[in-house]
Amino acid sequence: MKLTTVRLVTIIAEPVLKDRLLHEIHACGAQGYTISEVHGEGTRGIHAGQWQGGGNVKIETLVSSDVADRIMNAMANHYFPNYAVIAYISDVQVMRGDKFV
């Protein structure tokens, strides 16, 4: 069994960003994504989705190292300043690495 390491990028953001973020990660080169509904609290106060149950979306995408960097940069430039959003990267192992790069 051959496992290769790819990057798992996780973004947690207010729901209003959902479509734009999916578009963004796709533009950065992601081949797929998985979304879940979460809620949470951070350092920023109320945001527009919050009265709808405090909802956020969590977007996870398995990508190559390059794509992960591009996504993080896009996040830092376009979203971190004004939106309630966080993003983090970790390494995971998959079987058919070419599916994700």
Partner: protein, 332 residues
């Protein structure tokens, strides 16, 4: 005296009491919870019902009766956000994004206030409880206020290309938004099926309407209650703005409605629409276009101040004013 009677009648209506129950439940941190999917489905139901009922009645209305009220509504959808913007920029000292964002809220429609206004009329005795069937179409037109406000903001800021494309998306979203599609779709279906087709679905879309609205208002009360807690955060200016502006808008809406030929009841509902501040479509649109604007301000004022104010004292006031002005005009 009579006005006080009307206000008391409204205060003691199941709708307002349910709303207050929701507020109280939140304040004592009770765990009454109406799950989000239910609330979403109920709002679809309420808007669709209103459209349907309007459509069924619409037969016989001529286009010319509709024209003037529609023009007045469009005028309000342009004027209200504009003047809100100016006030917020001037005396309010807000920056452009915040001023435009708040203006978008007060320039468009709160479905709850709209629906409660309709229900206010339907509660009246037979013979006094009718209004123009095309009213739902006016509510749909008023949604345009969001676009006007965002447009002003964009224009004053000198928007970049990418921001303009975002605005384009917001315009499309507003035009095809849930309320617009359900109100107009319901209206159209109502027109087509007529009284006869409606009879068999009336148990759901007619008889249950008011009861469902009461249920919905429990949740709305909880929502408002959660915002009430942040009341202090919005500052004195917004506290006054959120209380006084709706009253002015209500008066203006009623007056113009009567001048445009609406019945007192119809003018009352137009007033309620004008007075109301959106709390679903506007927040999403503003967040997408002006992320710099502070959501605490526009959400707390529209949900925590203006919504309760309108439901509890606004509606009976607009109604009394509509009756009074109509009598006064009749006497002229």
């Amino acid at each position: 005296m009579d006005t006080i009677e009307i206000i008391r009648g409204n205060l003691l209506s199941p709708l307002v009491l349910a709303f207050v129950l929701g507020i109280v439940a939140t304040l004592i941190r009770s765990e009454v919870e109406i799950p989000e999917p239910i609330i979403k489905a109920i709002s679809v139901y309420l808007l669709f019902s209103i459209g349907l009922n309007g459509g069924v009645e619409l037969a016989g209305t001529t286009f010319s009766e509709f024209l003037l009220p529609a023009l007045v509504t469009i005028a309000l959808a342009i004027a209200v956000p504009t003047w809100c913007y100016l006030i917020l920029r001037g005396p309010g000292r807000f920056d452009i994004p915040n001023a435009a964002g708040i203006a978008a809220h007060y320039g468009s429609v709160s479905s709850v206030t709209f629906v409660a206004g309709i229900s206010f009329i339907e509660r009246l005795p037979d013979g006094q409880n009718t209004f123009e069937a095309f009213i739902p179409a006016l509510a749909a037109l008023m949604e345009w206020g969001i676009i006007v406000a965002l447009f002003i903001g964009r224009w004053r800021m000198g928007a970049t290309q990418s921001q303009n494309s975002e605005l384009g998306r917001v315009i499309r979203d507003t035009l095809t938004g849930r309320s617009v599609v359900l109100l107009l779709g319901g209206l159209l279906i109502g027109v087509i099926i007529g009284e006869q087709g409606f009879a068999r679905i009336k148990p759901l879309y007619g008889d249950l309407f008011r009861g469902v609205l009461v249920f919905f208002l429990i949740e709305m009360g909880m929502l408002a209650g959660r915002q009430l807690r942040d009341f202090v955060k919005v500052g004195p200016f917004m506290a006054v703005f959120g209380t006084v502006m709706p009253l002015i808008h209500g008066i203006v809406g009623v007056s113009l409605g009567l001048l445009a030929g609406l019945s007192p009841n119809g003018a009352f509902i137009l007033g309620a629409i004008t007075a109301s501040a959106s709390y679903i479509d506007a927040p999403a649109a503003v967040r997408a276009t002006f992320p710099q604007a502070n959501p605490s301000v526009y959400l707390t004022s529209s949900l925590g101040i203006t919504l309760p104010m309108n439901l509890i004292i606004g509606l009976p006031l607009y109604y009394e004013y509509a009756r009074w002005l109509s009598a006064a005009l009749g006497r002229m």
